[in-house]
Amino acid sequence: MSPLRPLGGPALEAVDVTRSYALEGGTVQALRGVSLTIDQGDYAAVVGPSGSGKSTLMHLLGGLDRPTTGVLRVGGRDIAALSEDELAEVRNATIGFVFQAFQLLGRTSAVDNVAMPLVYRGVRRAERRARAAEALERVGMGHRLDHRPAQLSGGEQQRVAIARALVGDPQVLLADEPTGNLDTRTGEEVMALLEDLNSAHGVAVVLVTHDLDVAARARRQVRVRDGLLEAPA
């Protein structure tokens, strides 16, 4: 496969995006017209109470979902023009996901967990493992290559997950409550790691969180309430 590589311009761009869901009692509008741009090397926090639409916004920015109306560009490409499989390629090339619950595969070693995105880019196994080891080195987990998730602490698991997000050299790290399952000190270390990756490697970081202390560390905050941005950045 030839990955649909990111084009120039902003890493992520939402223009007057809405997203509504059909439920039994009618439709629910989760987003009611949101415009947001994430530039290359950006460091933004999306905050808002639960039910505000911030999860929906994150899914859209990550190319996991499609807007009901409006334009969404991931890596410079309008995703309305992409098939599901093409969108998967764009995600693979552009976005690195970091989840609150880590989402590591339990029976798989750290290095193979990290290498997984490269499988879908058609990279050979030996090279996958070499690049995965490199990514683990970058997050300070070079000594834990063959450990399974259960043999690692929460902070270590999140580092492995960050390495997995990094391994494909994405433009954006999309982190959904990355410190939500960690204690304060470990959470602090994970944040420091994300910030280091942002400043030293120029990867844009988008934090989705309801923790205002975490959000305050970002260069700018985007507040979501009732499906709208409160203070457009």
């Binding site: 899914h59 996991l64 979902d65 499989d85 998967a88 090339a93 595969l105 798989t108 499988v119």
Partner: protein, 394 residues
Amino acid sequence: MRVAEAWRVAVTALRANRMRSLLTMLGVVIGVAAVVVLVAIGTGAQREVEAQVNGLGANLVIVVPGRLELGSAPTKSRLELGDADRIGRATGQDVAVTLSSGETVRFGGNEAFATVNGTNPAVPEVFVRPVARGEYLRDSDVDTRRRVAVVGAGLVESLFEGADPLGRTISLGGVRFRVIGVFEAVGSSGFGADQDSEVHIPVTAAQRLFGDMRVDAFALKAPSTETIDEVSAQALAVLADRYPDEEFSAVTQEQILGAVGRILGLLTTVLAAIAAISLLVGGVGVSNIMLVSVRERTREIGLRKAVGARQRDITLQFLLEAVLLTTIGGVIGIALGVGGSLGLAAAVDQLPAVVTWWSPALAFTVSAAVGIFFGVVPARRAGRLDPVVALRTE
């Protein structure tokens, strides 16, 4: 690369649920083993009958009254002993005659039920019936209705309890016959008449014993394979001349083999089809467990899609898992089936079983096909999962 990864993931998944995988395979194992064993038994039966028919002697032509068709009622014979001479003159071949009936044979306090064949000296020329000891019937025995008998090897055991039967007197339906010969053992099989418990007496003596002045059938041997049709035609022409209103048939080994082969082939197919039903049930089990597997790994599917897996990557992964289940089950089933067939053939000599190369090959192909057929619905369901929904699943 992607296929290799899908393969690795499938193997890992099966190993992670060892017990469940084995139980799911069991259905396929039993189905495949049953197909292989039943096909082996069917094939063995076919080979056995072929060997027996071939063992009758080469280029054999049997002339019977009536039209010979499968399922047609036997026709009452009007053939006479003199017709054998007429056919013999027309074809230039020895003609064996036969008139047979089941009779109780007694010797001392023992008795046995045997097929009593009224025959003539041409029998050893036409059929393969070597006499082990003593001698066969002669023309003079037939001419004088001498009450002499040649007995099958099986009767030596059951009637004479191993003692030398030559010169002893046996009773056939109350009439006494002197034993002048013993056939070589043919070896019994589960199919067809047991030739080792036959008694041959002069056809003339049989006619008197049974109170029937006709004969059942003639048999003669063509000099070569090429002349079988010619000899058959000559024999039938003689009979058509003598009995213009009657029909007669000349049956060759090929025809017997063809008829028997068709019946046994059908039987084998039916047995294999019944066994294949269990394979189908095994396939349903695979489908079921694959749905469970997809549900269990919904979050993994969501994650894989989030990091770039396409629909077909996920579908392939689960399809491979299903095919792996059924083909491993298939291989185990083939091993059990082949082992079982060989064991059965060795342990029970009434039940010959022959494993042909094609039945394991077919069983393997079918089990792989079962995996694809029953795996495709769960696998496609996995491939179509919405990553957002899948990632949220607990």
